[in-house]
Amino acid sequence: MTEAGNREITYLEAVREALWQEMHRDPDVFLLGEDIGVYGGAFGVTRGLLEEFGPERVRDTPISEAAIAGAATGAALMGMRPVMEVMFMDFITISMNQLVNQAAKIRFMFGGKASIPMVVRAPAGSGTGAAAQHCQSLEAWFVHVPGIKVVTPATPFDVKGLLVTSIRDNNPVLFVEHKLLYRTKGPVPEELYAIPLGQAEVRRPGRDLTIVAYSIMVPRALEAAGRLSEEGVEVEVVDLRCLKPLDEETVVRSVSKTGRVLIVHEAPQTGGFGGELAAVIANSEAFDYLDAPIRRLCGRDIPIPYNRTLEQATVPQVEDIVAAARKLATEGR
C-alpha cells in the first residue's frame, strides 16, 4: 500500500484530485451533475475541472435526477465510466428507478453479458443546518440492492484511493462523501493509488471493546477512544470504509479479541446498516467471545431537524460515543 507521505490536503481536495487524475488517465471517465461546471458543484468539489477538461466531460445537467442517473447508466452500458454527482444524497430518491431497477439489474438480468461501470457521488449527512431534506444518510437502502457497491470513506487518504478504485470498478458504486468531512485534512500522496474495496481498517488498536464505524463516525469514534483511554478504557476502532463488499473478517477478528462491540452510525437505527452488522457478528465465531450484548449507537428514528441543538441531539456525537462505550466496557462485569 502507498505510504501517506507528508503532504496534507482536505478530504474535498482529495476527491477532486482523484477525479482529476482519473480523467487524465482514462478518456472514458467523465462527470455529470447539477452545477458541477462553472459553479464547481454545490460544495466546490469539481471546481477547476471544467477549465481543465471542458464542458463535454464536466457536464452540467438540468435538474433532472432521473435523467442524470439514466444518462450515467446508459453511458456506462456503452463502456464509458461516468461519475455522477448527486448534489445532496437526499436527491438520489429521484434517481432511484434508474439506479435500482436499471443500473443494478442490467448485468444480472442480461445473464452477465453487460456491465455498468459508474459511480454515484453522494454528499451525505447532517451537521450543516440544512434540515430534513438535505442531510440524510441513505446508504443502507443501497446495501440492500444486489448489484450496487457502497463505499463510505472517512479520511482524505481513503477518499482518494477508494474513489479511484470505484471509478475503475466495473459495477455501479454508491460513493458516500460526508459533508462535514470535506474540510478535514490528512496526508494524501500526490501520485495515483487505488485502495481495494471491501477492506476495513483498524484505526486504533485496543483490548477492551470494539467500535465499528464508518464515514463521519470514524473520527468521532477515534476522539471518543482517545478520551476513554485517559480513563483506562482501551477502545479498538474499526473503520469499515466500505459497506458492500463488507470486510467481515476484520470485524469478527476485532470483536473476538475484545469481546464487546459498539456499532456506530449516523443513519437512523431502525433498518440501518448496524442491524445487518450485528447479525453478521452474532452469526460468526465472534459470538462465542462476546462478554456483553452487541450494542448500537445510531441516529434517532426522526428526520434531521434544523436547529443546531436538535440536530446534534439526533445523531451520535463524541460525548454520546464516550458514554455508550464506557457503559459497554463494564457491562456484565
Partner: protein
C-alpha cells in the same frame, strides 16, 4: 424564443407519396425481409402463447401481436451497427434487430443457453453484440437510459444512432419528460419511438394524457415529432428514416408516435374487461401484415405464391426454434451470484 409549434419529421405530402416510391426504391429482398420478419414476430408470439397454454412457461409475457409494423418498419431503416433499447413488449424489436430466434425462445423458456441464461425471461431479452441493448420491465425506464447510450455515441464521435422504444403509458412518466429535454439540449443521436397501442394495461391513452396525439409533446422539447399510422410498415419506415438521418447527421432527437393496437391482453392475466370485442375485431381487420401483403401484391412486387413461401419459411423457423429450445438444459442454481457483479 423557441417556436413551440409541432414540426413534423417528414413533410406529410412526401409521406403520402413515399410508400409508392419505397416499393420501387427498396430492393425486393429488403421488402421480403420486412414481410418475413413481421411473420416471424407473429408466429413467435403465437408460439409463445401456445407454449404458455401448454404450461411450459414459468413467467409472464407481453405480446405485440398487431404491432409488428412498428418494430419492423423502424428497425428496417437501421444499419447493423445501430442500436435499440426497448421495453417489456419487446419480442418484435428483438426479432427485427436480428436476434437468433432459438436463443430468444430459449430465454422465453428460461433455459441456460438463452440470451440471458434464463435470468431475464421474456421481459428482458438483450442481444448486446447484435445492438439490442435490452428490454426493460419497468414502464419507461429505458428512456433515461437511452439518453446515456446516445450520449456515449456522441462523445465517441460515432455515427451510430439509437432507437428508443416505449409505450403510450410511459409517455406520462416524469422520466419521459426529463429524458426528452436532456436529449434535446445535448442534440443526441436518438429517435424516441412511442408505440401507442392505445392502452397502458387498461388505461386508455386518450384518457390518461392531457394532449392528443402524444407526438405534440415533441414541441415542448424543441424536437420534431410526428404521429404515424403504426400499422403501415412503409409509413413507419419513411418517418423513421427521416428521423434516423437527422440523428445521424448530428441534428438531434425526434419523437415518433406509431399509432397502433394491441390485439392481445396486456399480459397473461388480462381479461379484456376495459374494451369491447368489436373494437378488437375492428383492429384485426387493419392487420399490419395483411396490409403489407396486399400492398406488395397490388404493386406487383410479389405474387401470392412467393408470399406464401415467405410465410411458410417464417413459420418453419419459429417451429424449429421452439422445438430445439425445448430440448435445451435448465440453468443451475449453483454460482447464481456470479452475474450480480462484474469482475
Amino acid at each position: 424564443m423557441t417556436d413551440v409549434c409541432l414540426k413534423p419529421i417528414l413533410d406529410p405530402a412526401v409521406l403520402a407519396e413515399g410508400s409508392r416510391r419505397l416499393l420501387t426504391d427498396l430492393p425486393r429482398e429488403r421488402l421480403g425481409w420486412m414481410l418475413e420478419t413481421m411473420y416471424k414476430i407473429r408466429y413467435f408470439e403465437e408460439k409463445a402463447e401456445e407454449l404458455y397454454t401448454r404450461g411450459l412457461v414459468h413467467g409472464t409475457m407481453h405480446l405485440s401481436i398487431g404491432q409488428e409494423a412498428s418494430s419492423v418498419g423502424s428497425i428496417a431503416v437501421l444499419r447493423p451497427e445501430d442500436l435499440i433499447i426497448h421495453h417489456h413488449r419487446g419480442h418484435g424489436h428483438t426479432i427485427a434487430k436480428g436476434a437468433d430466434i432459438t436463443l430468444m425462445m430459449a430465454e422465453f423458456l428460461g433455459k441456460e443457453p438463452g440470451y440471458c441464461r434464463g435470468r431475464g425471461g421474456s421481459m428482458h431479452i438483450a442481444d448486446i453484440p447484435g445492438g439490442n441493448l435490452g428490454a426493460t420491465g419497468v414502464v419507461g425506464s429505458g428512456i433515461p437510459t437511452a439518453v446515456g447510450i446516445a450520449l456515449a455515441l456522441q462523445m465517441r464521435r460515432s455515427d451510430r444512432v439509437l432507437l428508443a422504444y416505449f409505450g403510450d403509458g410511459a409517455a406520462n412518466l416524469g422520466e419521459f419528460h426529463e429524458a426528452l429535454n436532456m436529449a434535446a439540449i445535448w442534440t443526441l443521436p436518438v429517435v424516441f419511438i412511442c408505440e401507442n397501442n392505445q392502452y397502458g394495461m387498461s388505461g386508455p391513452a386518450k384518457k390518461m394524457a392531457a394532449v392528443e396525439p402524444l407526438s405534440v409533446r415533441a414541441a415542448a422539447y424543441n424536437m420534431p415529432g410526428q404521429t404515424v399510422d403504426g400499422n403501415d410498415v412503409l409509413a413507419v419506415y419513411q418517418v423513421t428514416q427521416a428521423a434516423v438521418e437527422r440523428a445521424r447527421s448530428g441534428q438531434g432527437p425526434s419523437l415518433i408516435e406509431n399509432y397502433t393496437y394491441r390485439w392481445r391482453g396486456h399480459s397473461k392475466s388480462d381479461r379484456n374487461v376495459y374494451r369491447t370485442a368489436e373494437e378488437i375485431e375492428d383492429w384485426k381487420r387493419r392487420c399490419p401484415i395483411l396490409r403489407f401483403k396486399q400492398t406488395l401484391v397490388s404493386a406487383g412486387v410479389m405474387g401470392d405464391e412467393e408470399i406464401a413461401a415467405i410465410d411458410e419459411r417464417a413459420k418453419t423457423t419459429i417451429d424449429r426454434a421452439a422445438e430445439e429450445a425445448l430440448t435445451f438444459p435448465e440453468p443451475s442454481p449453483e454460482r447464481l451470484e456470479d452475474e450480480v457483479y462484474a469482475p
